[in-house]
């Protein structure tokens, strides 16, 4: 809340840096050219596994489904001992209590989406109560969505105030702010939304809800990482990053790690500062780890669904 405390220091968000789209795309493409093999690949894959927010955000979610997912989070693949657990479970507020109980003292966090996820089309009051409920149920982290409609209308102060208000009711819980980049349209707007979120008190900025295509892409993540870097240089405050949706292959996840390392540095290469929001990525990572260890290509049949 350092920024909100000194309102006069707030930048004019309409002056956020403009992004060179071609440049961002080319830079992002270059991260995919690094060759990561053998031992470093194995370590990279374990790190990826440890950074996953294992997610289920369906209308059809049940207690049973969430419990099963929690078990998967704690025991990704028992046939291969020594694997790290995932970082967190990401669920709707109504499932927080179930997840919290199922995870016990495993150290795995419970993240809850809130603020009328995924559309964010509700009144401030509803959003605040939604968030309070999630926190009361025991959520360690809150994933909120910004009001994209207001953002497009240029009401940046509204967006800012909303994030700051949500941050206030989060208390100890870390706040991830979902920009829903697929609905923002341009890199310029992604950058602007990132700046607003960080200044308003976000602990993490997150690309997408996973409900809109395109979700996380490498160029859009790059733009957000650069916003985090600039914010860090300016304020000395570290902000976390969470690309979510559309990352289902290990190779792509490794490319993301390369990008984080080359843009932000090693301080961000742990699950306190970087997360993958994904559901199917975990199994692909597990299959690749087993392939690296055994030398045999794996089949999805031999890995638990969740």
């Amino acid at each position: 809340m350092a920024s909100a405390g000194s309102l006069t220091m707030l930048p004019d968000f309409s002056l956020s840096p403009r992004i060179d789209q071609v440049g961002a795309e080319e830079r992002a493409a270059r991260f995919t050219k690094r060759s990561i093999k053998k031992e470093s690949k194995l370590n990279g894959l374990k790190l990826v596994l440890n950074m996953i927010d294992l997610t289920t955000l369906e209308g059809k979610d049940t207690d049973g489904k969430v419990k099963q997912l929690c078990y998967k989070a704690m025991h990704p693949h028992d046939a291969m001992p020594g694997l790290p657990a995932v970082a967190a479970i990401c669920v709707y507020p109504s499932m927080v209590k179930v997840a919290k109980k199922a995870l016990g003292d495993s150290g795995i966090k419970v993240a809850s989406v809130a603020t009328a996820f995924p559309s964010g089309q509700a009144s401030r009051d509803v959003k605040l109560r939604d968030t309070k409920y999630a926190v009361q149920e025991g959520a360690d982290e809150v994933d909120m969505v910004i009001s994209r409609g207001k953002f497009h209308a240029g009401e940046y102060n509204f967006v800012f105030d909303e994030i700051a208000a949500i941050k206030e009711v989060c208390g100890e819980a870390r706040l991830k702010v979902i920009l829903e980049t697929g609905e923002l349209g341009t890199f310029d707007k992604v950058r602007r939304a990132s700046d607003i979120a960080m200044h308003a008190g976000a602990d993490f900025i997150k690309t997408s809800t996973g409900k809109i295509q395109p979700a996380a892409t490498m160029p859009v993540t790059l733009v957000m990482l650069e916003a985090i870097r600039d914010f860090y240089y300016k304020t000395g405050k570290m902000i976390g990053m969470k690309p979510a949706g559309g990352i289902s292959k290990s190779k792509l996840a490794l490319h993301y790690l390369v990008m984080v390392k080359e843009v932000l540095g090693e301080a961000w290469l742990n699950n306190h500062w970087f997360r993958f929001g994904a559901s199917s990525l975990a199994n692909d990572v597990l299959m690749q780890i087993v392939k690296e260890k055994t030398g045999v290509y794996q089949a999805a049949n031999y890995f638990s669904v969740d």
Partner: protein
């Protein structure tokens, strides 16, 4: 140039302004022989190639030397295609196999040319192509019939209706025979897809031309992408991957090398793949086509369905 007297009219001016003789012969456009994965024609991921030669020592083409990663990609495509292909109506699968035969018929001349390049005589080539077409028709017919022939109602001593039906095993890896590259390839692929499986086939290493051209036939036959994937390369290099990939349900090997067969048996045990060797079959003869080839990649599912006490009605099963 310039040493012999050349009629001015036969000269053309090249880019650098010098005179050169008009080419009497058109520069041929050579075909790039690529592999077939998921309905696409990519080059091998490895960037490698090899140059098979015929008996006369002529180079056939630069052919992709596929790597294990190409095989892995092909298995992903084949796995994705399983549910769509196996859930199609059997009758529709038959129509598509028939369509493949039609397409092959239309390109008979091209296949004969390639076979002749690969050391066949014209008569042999014609025989091979026509037989390959007939074989597709043969299996097209079996698509919606083999289930009836091989299914059974089983006699059980309880109040159950008990029946067994063949179901496709899934993804099949195939190392095709080296000789008679078209007929043999068709003869091993057709029964596999007739039964609703998908496959990844490694074409003849020494005679790969027809296999690549055959994949063009597949591509224009309404056969969904991924049902048949065709790689070119060396069996010695790829056989172990064909045998130990956990996402492959059965493997068919036509290589005669006994040490390779032993290795494939051992590696296939990893996920209990069905392993079949077609190393002594004369594909030209009657034994080269049979519904039993379809059954080599089928699993029998038996269902127990409770019924009223049928013994009262005097039923025997």
């Amino acid at each position: 140039m310039g040493k012999t007297a050349i009629n001015k009219s036969s000269l053309t001016i090249s880019e650098n302004g010098q005179e050169k003789p008009a080419s009497s012969k058109r520069l041929e456009v050579l075909k790039t022989y690529k592999i077939y994965i998921g309905g696409q024609f990519p080059r091998t991921e490895s960037g490698r190639y090899y140059v098979p030669v015929n008996a006369a020592g002529a180079k056939l083409a630069n052919v992709c030397l596929s790597s294990r990663k190409d095989f892995r990609d092909a298995v992903v495509a084949a796995r994705a295609a399983v549910s769509g292909w196996s859930n199609r109506a059997a009758f529709n699968r038959g129509q598509i196999l028939y369509r493949m035969a039609e397409m092959l018929e239309g390109r008979k001349a091209q296949f004969m040319e390639e076979l002749i390049q690969q050391d066949s005589t014209r008569a042999q080539a014609e025989k091979e192509v026509t037989l390959a077409i007939d074989r597709l028709i043969y299996y097209a017919g079996w698509c919606d019939k083999f289930q009836q022939v091989f299914s059974a109602v089983n006699p059980v001593a309880s109040s159950h209706f008990n029946f067994s039906v063949p179901e496709p095993t899934g993804v099949v890896s195939i190392i095709a025979p080296q000789s008679d590259s078209l007929l043999c390839l068709v003869s091993v692929i057709a029964p596999v897809i007739t039964g609703g499986n998908t496959c990844v086939a490694l074409a003849s290493e020494t005679k790969p031309l027809c296999a690549v051209t055959f994949s063009e036939v597949l591509n224009s036959s309404d056969l969904p992408g991924g049902v048949v994937n065709i790689l070119t390369g060396k069996p010695g290099e790829l056989a172990s991957w064909f045998a130990d990939h956990m996402d492959v349900n059965a493997t068919i090997c036509c290589e005669k090398d006994s040490s390779m067969q032993k290795m494939m048996r051992e590696k296939s045990a990893l996920n209990l793949k069905r392993v079949t060797f077609y190393d002594k079959i004369n594909w030209y003869s009657e034994e080269g086509q049979s519904p039993y080839f379809i059954m080599d990649t089928q699993e029998i599912k038996t269902t127990w369905h409770p019924v009223e006490n049928i013994a009262g009605a005097g039923g025997g099963y």
